[in-house]
Symmetry: C2
Subunit: 150 residues, 2 copies
Amino acid sequence: MKTPEDEQASVFRFFTEVGIIQQLISTRLETMLPGRMGATQFGILGHLARRPDGETPLQLSNAFQVPKTSMTHMLGVLEKLELVTIEPHPQDGRSKVARATQKGQAFLRECTGRMSREMAPVMSELGTQPFNAALPHLQLIREALDRARD
Amino acid sequence: MKTPEDEQASVFRFFTEVGIIQQLISTRLETMLPGRMGATQFGILGHLARRPDGETPLQLSNAFQVPKTSMTHMLGVLEKLELVTIEPHPQDGRSKVARATQKGQAFLRECTGRMSREMAPVMSELGTQPFNAALPHLQLIREALDRARD
DNA sequence: GTATGGTAATACGAAATCGTACTAAGTCAA
DNA sequence: TTGACTTAGTACGATTTCGTATTACCATAC
């Protein structure tokens, strides 16, 4: 019979595991990224690559849950690396639009490819089953957490 | 029928979801932590609280996968807040031992309690089922990733 | 004993992160 | 049209993060 304390503990363990996995993955990823480019910057690039019309800095900072001012900085770095372009927003004079460049797309493909190759040993050990099994639950949890932030 | 590309995609989605959940949780946690104390610092405190004999900075930086020098800094901050003590290692003159103080333990309890209360609405919406269902898979994946880093 | 190689922590500096305060631009009611 | 209010982005500064180089200490061989 499970007590409420056990249940709370398993939720905390869940969050701990998520934190450790994220840390292991992003550390691994960052070793094969140039300079001090971090996992979040890389995520932004991937996000933009899937959206040909680009997004505004504010949309990005909402999507990645980082402060606006951090996003300003990150986009500036990505722009200097010529991986994204930042242009004035055509409809809103206050705003900007960030898009992935060709170079950005190529860079992204190259890194994801390298990442896949790096991860191959782990993947063949694990198979895709644990990932597929966990994914629906993660999505459920993420959606609830997302709704819960006011 | 699933292609290899689909499988790779679901693994990437898994990591994406993990990243987002981690971000949502740590942002939420950090709003109720004093000053600029981050989720990792808090994790260190929790880690130490479960180990009465303490750990060395190197053990901690391995456990949390952050550079040694970051750990030096974090522990310095936690020490200044009187949440941990840092003493010379009795057996090894090169090393140190970090332990959670009483104040640290109390602080931890207070924060985890507040966190639980904050999360109550989400928890009652989700129940513990998705967490318990995902946890074994996460552990499997984490262990494999952990072994895979040389 | 001491020389040599490895390990633990840190000093230092460069860059990232993010809170506060600000400017410019949009919105909307009167 | 105007004035109050809201919103998008950024300048600035405090702090964190982390790579490099350094110092102190341990272990082993000679």
